[in-house]
Symmetry: C2
Subunit: 458 residues, 2 copies
């Protein structure tokens, strides 16, 4: 019995049309990565389990796809372990490898392993799939591409400035104008916690603060109270709930609020440097906004924090994010390597471009010229012409069999071919070919010595 085939949940096949669109996005992103001096690396799809396990928290450990050892994998499992029949205990005995969960940990591993070949500061980009055993849902997949650019071994804030420019360049080139790059700094968050006397509770404070957009001021206060943050602290933090105005006035208000915190003041200074630099350099189409509620990946970031929101009016979570982190490679034994990086959310950017109709028309066209097949001799003549066209870089094809004209023209329509070429007996005898322009329906006759005239028309 033949199987009715399917693919695993949370995975996707990509059709030629989808690949064309994805490649378009990748192409633009890569172009700007390169122009900004980033270089590509690639790491294996699976890593040794000990490289990945314990790096993403308990939840992450659970979501990592593990690869079963090859061969007689039970051979090495001792009876004691086997007899308790516990999935968790058995896993490490029968699986030594796991699929990449993100690009950051493999990158850290790469930097440590190749530190003697790398010219620091190292600006690397990496665009590869990652896998997570998450519950699939709309827009969340078990296999998806990540697209990261990081600079390691450089402490200067120039990097933060450049990364904002990089976002702006990519989104401007994609014609996705009006994205908002939100900017915060971990030191500001820490300073706030310090000033209001909640520094033991920074994570809870920022997690709650981050929900300001969703649950409003009262909701945030309620959550903070529930998490053990005092009434007094919340009252002191009140100015944060009402920060408004342009970046300059927010900076002033923050400077005021954090004047007694060394760390907080440092954060304001860093934020100020970046804001000033961007005013000097000008963005092409993106907006830059301070957002002190931004706290993504707090445990990870140590300086700047970025997040990119789609243009107003498009309902979509963040389409990019990143920040500065100290000690990227410490887990693998290389100390004092600071880094800063950003990522692009490919799947969401794809959906936004689709929604706004921003994919170029030309992506639909996969074939410039199709020659109709009128039989064996005629198709050889057609293949001669097509061979010449291809040598000149024209995407051309001969329909592979002498099917009915209607069927061949339907194929041409489906593939959105702009020019159909006809070489029948008559044309063979006169060394000519007929070109039918599909949009207008007009026909032209060329001699075989006029191929270049035809190419000019394309």
């Amino acid at each position: 019995m033949a199987q009715k085939p399917s693919i695993p949940k949370g995975t996707r096949d990509f059709s030629p049309t989808e690949i064309a669109k994805r490649d378009y996005i990748f192409g633009v992103v890569k172009k700007h990565f390169k122009i900004f001096g980033f270089q590509p690396i690639e790491t294996p799809s699976f890593e040794n389990s000990e490289t990945l396990m314990g790096k993403y928290g308990d939840e992450g450990d659970r979501l990592i796809f593990k690869i079963l050892n090859s061969g007689d994998f039970l051979n090495k499992v001792d009876e004691a372990t086997y007899s308790i029949k516990d999935s968790r205990s058995l896993t490490s005995k029968i699986s030594e490898k796991a699929l990449r969960y993100d690009l950051t940990v493999p990158f850290a591993r790469y930097v440590v392993m190749h530190q003697n070949e790398i010219d620091f500061p190292f600006k690397r980009y990496q665009i590869q799939p990652v896998w997570r055993a998450d519950r699939p849902q709309k827009g969340r997949f078990r296999e998806f591409y990540q697209c990261d650019a990081d600079v390691v071994g450089a402490n200067s804030l120039l990097q933060e400035v450049e990364l904002i420019q990089l976002y702006d360049s990519v989104f401007s080139d994609l014609k996705l104008e009006g994205v908002t790059i939100k900017l915060n700094n971990r030191k500001i968050l820490a300073g706030i916690a310090e000033v209001i006397g909640a520094h033991d509770n920074l994570v809870n404070f920022t997690v709650a603060l981050d929900k300001l957009d969703k649950i409003g001021v009262e909701g945030v206060k309620k959550e903070m109270l529930a998490k053990g943050i005092s009434e007094e602290a919340i009252t002191k933090a009140a100015p944060l709930f009402e920060l408004s105005g342009d970046n300059a006035s927010q900076l002033l208000a923050l400077k005021d609020l954090l004047i007694q915190s060394e760390q907080g003041s440092k954060g304001v200074e860093e934020l100020g440097f970046i804001i000033n630099a961007m005013e000097h350099l000008q963005l092409q189409s993106a907006n830059l906004e301070i957002d002190v509620t931004l706290a993504r990946g707090l445990n990870y970031y140590t300086g700047a924090i970025f997040e990119v929101a789609a243009p107003k009016g498009v309902k979509m979570g963040s389409i990019g994010g990143g920040g500065r982190y100290d000690d990227l490679t410490g887990i693998f034994g290389l100390k004092d390597v600071s880094g800063v990086g950003i990522s692009f959310g490919l799947d969401r950017i794809y959906l936004v471009l689709e929604e706004l109709g921003l994919f170029p028309e030309t992506l639909n066209k996969s074939l410039d010229v199709l020659c109709i097949n009128f039989g064996e001799n005629e198709s050889m003549a057609a293949l001669s012409l097509v061979t010449e066209l291809r040598k000149q870089g024209v995407t051309a094809d001969v329909y592979p069999s002498k099917a009915k004209m209607q069927k061949q023209m339907k194929y041409a329509n489906n593939r959105k071919v702009p020019y159909v070429v006809l070489i029948g007996e008559n044309e063979m005898n006169t060394n000519t070919f007929v070109v039918k322009e599909m949009a207008s329906g007009e026909q032209y006759t060329y001699g075989l010595d006029q191929i270049n005239d035809f190419i000019k028309r394309l």
Copy 2:
């Protein structure tokens, strides 16, 4: 304790230099795939196990990487199965997904699942990694890219002709001249077995014949005898051991030998069509040779068989291969879909280009312009210039910190930067910048309003 990181055996990290070279090959291959009218698809990295298992023989089944089910995977294993502690029996209970082993089976699955969206004949290409739990050795990896182009739903021999042209176009464009495209036909092999009375033993016959180059005529005869092929059959097959001369004379000799076999004669006719067409159309730089010892994947191919050998003088196995197969999709319930395809052996092509020094010099250059960093103010001026250069598509960067001049110049040398830009206090005061051409050591001064003159020089 920090871990000393490593990667699983048989896998590789790719450095920026290696990626540049691999991307160069992929770029050329894709360009010609597109010009020839092929369209890209991508399939998930893992498939449901039943899609892959049983498709590659027992050996293949063993070499497929299986993914452990997530969560409490032992929960669903019954006591009876568990208690016998047998790896093979347990595998199907604790693993439902497996990593892609090649691109052909996923492609067949894709065609069946998407048959109503596909415009047949479907010319698809696919360039993705595959994984095999093979014993790693020099040139054999557990993760490697396959690169396939196939046409399905078309029976005409025009496809075979085009695929030979495609090989020729790609290798000519890669400047890898003098490759030999070997051509055979499964029907000729079947005809030979029939004529010499060994048709029950065709696989053994062709496997032995395939070794002619390696073990010589006597070795082949000995192996055939050992495999139960009669003295008489071997004597009748003798002309095959001495086929020589150009394609035309080989065709004549084969026609003669196979005149009494309907299938064999059909094979000779097909071979003749292709050879004639190629003489008419001319190859750019490849050689086309009939090779009746070519029998790769015999159980799979039903018509033409291709294999590409590197230019003479380069020691390397085949750098490409393919052929025609009937019934690609029968395993998944879609009958009568004939296909023909070729693949490119990326890793070997890489090694051949490396050995012959055929990678373009330009691949080494990842940065056109580096601005030296003289401090905070100067670096902001440099970043202004770099911003302008990048907008014009120039790959440019500012060194991220005010390191010693020597260190910054060393970085420029390592990254093979052709132009270093200096903006110090003096240049800031005079609105100029100094360009140092690294090859000649010469220096030029430009005004900030002369950026376009500088770009012209690049």
